[in-house]
């Protein structure tokens, strides 16, 4: 019971990082501390939060999805073309895309393939499909979708409200239901889960389908925010989503994931990008700052582990 506080600090690291970043931004630009300011700051976070959740679902079973950036791009391209012009076709295509995601999970499970390579191949498939759907930048997002991401709920900016809702829903599903325990167990000890009568095939397919669903949500909201799309629109989402999920406390092994952490991690990554603008620094360093913050959080976590390890072991 004595080391509980360390676990607490460890779990709250993503929140602390977010708070530190927000504090720094507010200090540099007090006007950001308003409804409108937060709205602008976090505007782009909604799709990144969804993409990070998608990555987290794949991480749950110990895989890594290098194709999510391509998938979100594809969804955005479908959103501004088919979904806007022929909604029924668009919906069917997006559902089929989620089905394909589950099928990829099935393929990885059945043939015991390295997920990294398969999803890397899939990233080419998605980017290729995106170019086929939308050969040149353009398209137009449906008005209802644009209106949806421009909603201004009273009191709390949409991005924050969305982050809270997504985080809580993800937490309830993965951490609070018995089904969530099975899903995470599949990452921790697949043999035990199989012996208990669960099908690893179904579990992997479920997690990949969930990732696909989150990817679709990311593409829809991204297209809603940008109102048009191009075939490179979410190029950086793959690395960003991994960074966000890891910053939020997810690990590669043992089915250790944290939905709330992933949401916070995604917010930190989004804010890190706009932080430089407030410092009036060269935007070339945007990616670098994201990397540095990731390393900093991981270093703090390693430090905590070392302190905790020294005490308990």
């Amino acid at each position: 019971m004595t080391i509980d506080w360390r676990e607490l600090v460890r779990a709250s690291l993503p929140a602390l990082a977010l708070a530190a970043l927000l504090a720094a931004i507010f200090w540099l630009q007090p006007r950001a501390m308003s409804y409108q300011g937060l709205n602008l700051l976090l505007n782009l976070s909604i799709p990144i939060v969804f993409a990070t959740l998608a990555q987290m679902f794949v991480l749950t079973v110990g895989d890594l999805d290098l194709g999510i950036g391509g998938f979100v791009t594809f969804v955005a391209c479908v959103t501004v073309t088919w979904l806007a012009e022929a909604p029924l076709v668009g919906v069917l295509v997006l559902l089929a895309a989620i089905g394909l995601y589950a099928a990829v999970g099935a393929l990885i499970e059945l043939r015991n393939l390295p997920a990294i390579v398969v999803t890397l191949g899939m990233s080419f498939v998605w980017f290729g499909l995106a170019v086929i759907v939308l050969p040149s930048p353009g398209g137009r997002t449906s008005e209802w979708l644009i209106a949806a991401v421009r909603l201004r709920p009273p009191g709390i900016p949409l991005a924050i409200l969305a982050a809270v809702v997504i985080g809580v829903l993800g937490h309830l599903l993965l951490m609070r239901t018995s089904f969530g325990v099975v899903l995470r167990g599949a990452g921790g000890n697949p043999r035990a889960i199989t012996r208990a009568g669960w099908s690893m095939l179904q579990i992997r397919m479920t997690l990949y389908a969930l990732a696909g669903l989150m990817g679709v949500m990311a593409g829809l909201t991204l297209a809603g925010i940008t109102t048009s799309a191009d075939a490179n629109i979410a190029l950086r989402y793959t690395l960003l989503s991994i960074a966000g999920a890891i910053l939020g406390g997810s690990q590669f092994t043992g089915g250790r994931v944290s939905p709330i952490g992933a949401v916070l991690g995604a917010l930190v990554m989004t804010l890190a990008a706009s932080f430089l603008a407030f410092l009036r620094l060269n935007p070339d360093w945007q990616i670098g700052v994201q990397g540095a913050i990731l390393i900093l959080v991981l270093a703090l976590r390693a430090l905590l582990d070392r302190v905790a390890g020294g005490a308990s072991r």
């Binding site: 890594l64 393929l107 043939r111 015991n112 393939l113 390295p114 990294i116 390579v117 398969v118 890397l120 191949g121 899939m122 990233s123 080419f124 498939v125 998605w126 980017f127 290729g128 499909l129 995106a130 170019v131 086929i132 050969p135 075939a231 690395l239 991994i242 960074a243 890891i246 690990q251 590669f252 060269n282 070339d284 360093w285 945007q286 990616i287 670098g288 700052v289 994201q290 990397g291 540095a292 990731l294 390393i295 991981l298 270093a299 976590r301 390693a302 582990d305």
Partner: protein
């Protein structure tokens, strides 16, 4: 037959060569016999870049599951930028420029290893975070860097002896040297031992940490060097010149028959896989498909090859 092939390890890389030859034949057929040799020559030349980065990636992957170097693309770009500015277009500065690119890679590799060691994080995460920083540095450093590569470097990348690029011959010598390193040196054997069972390797007296440090440094140094060479080949630095090497390095290693589970390395397969990847793009270009279809088919074929080559054995 199959059993004997499997025992000698040929089956692991034969696949890549069969694929490369098949793709080449289709290309030749599409072009109705024209330019068959030119296509092959171009392939042999371009394959060098893939083989160089993939050699580093292969050593990394061979050290065991979870070991992968995601910083290669960023390091390629940074290496190219550093080399071009050191060379400053002068033939006399080619060697210092190449050395500077290798030194840059060495720094990146050591940084990667330092992250893995001190933060105790999976190599994927360590190399991912460092690639963010390296990429930023490369963008900042390379912006507005419009230095032409020195004449001699550019002509070296295109020089040929009897239709075979000189660069290819040099790279083949390098591959042979790496094969000796892998099979005959303590370092090479340590890599495979760690990949098979790090605990056993450590108990057997293998210096695990030193081996991993050398491996990550080797990978990044090769990436930096490749960047310098590639800049000479393509006529300068561009900010996203490294991006194609992420997929290329991993795909070439895996298609070449190296197991992602570690403990195995397959140098001959790298050439087959690199040729396969290049000729695949050439074939799709010859077939006149657009860039979307080309990417789509590339992705599908990579997945098909991985699926056909089969996954890892169950268990462990």
């Amino acid at each position: 037959m199959t059993a004997r092939l499997a025992r000698t390890g040929i089956r692991d890389w034969l696949f890549a060569y069969v694929g490369a030859v098949g793709v080449w034949l289709v290309t030749v057929m599409l072009a109705e016999g024209f330019g068959a040799m030119q296509t092959l020559t171009a392939g042999l030349g371009f394959a060098v870049f893939y083989v160089l980065v993939a050699t580093g990636q292969m050593f990394v992957i061979a050290t065991g599951p979870g070991n992968i170097d995601l910083s290669i693309p960023a390091t390629v770009t940074l290496g190219a930028g550093v080399a071009m500015s050191v060379m400053a277009g002068s033939d006399a500065m080619i060697v210092p420029g190449l050395l500077a690119a290798i030194a840059t890679g060495t720094l990146v590799g050591s940084f990667n290893y330092a992250l893995i060691r001190t933060l105790r994080i999976p190599p994927i995460i360590a190399t991912l975070s460092s690639s963010f920083i390296v990429q930023s540095t490369a963008i900042w450093y390379g912006r507005g860097l419009s230095i032409k590569p020195p004449e001699a470097l550019q002509s070296f990348t295109f020089a040929r002896i009897l239709d075979v690029p000189v660069m290819t011959l040099a790279a083949l010598v390098f591959t042979l040297a790496m094969a000796v390193v892998l099979r005959r040196t303590v370092y090479g054997r340590s890599v495979l031992a760690i990949g098979q069972n790090p605990k056993a390797a450590r108990l057997a007296g293998v210096d695990v940490e030193r081996t991993r440090w050398i491996t990550y440094t080797l990978s990044a140094a090769l990436a930096g060097f490749t960047g310098a060479l590639f800049a000479g080949f393509s006529g300068g630095v561009s900010l996203d010149m490294g991006s194609q090497f992420l997929l290329a390095s991993i795909a070439v290693v895996v298609i070449g028959g190296t197991s992602v589970a570690g403990g195995k390395a397959n140098l001959p397969g790298l050439w087959g896989a690199a040729l396969f990847l290049f000729l695949l793009v050439t074939m799709l270009n010859a077939a006149g498909v657009g860039s979307g279809v080309r990417q789509l088919l590339t992705g599908i074929l990579i997945i098909a090859v991985i699926t056909a080559a089969g996954g890892e054995k169950r268990g462990r």
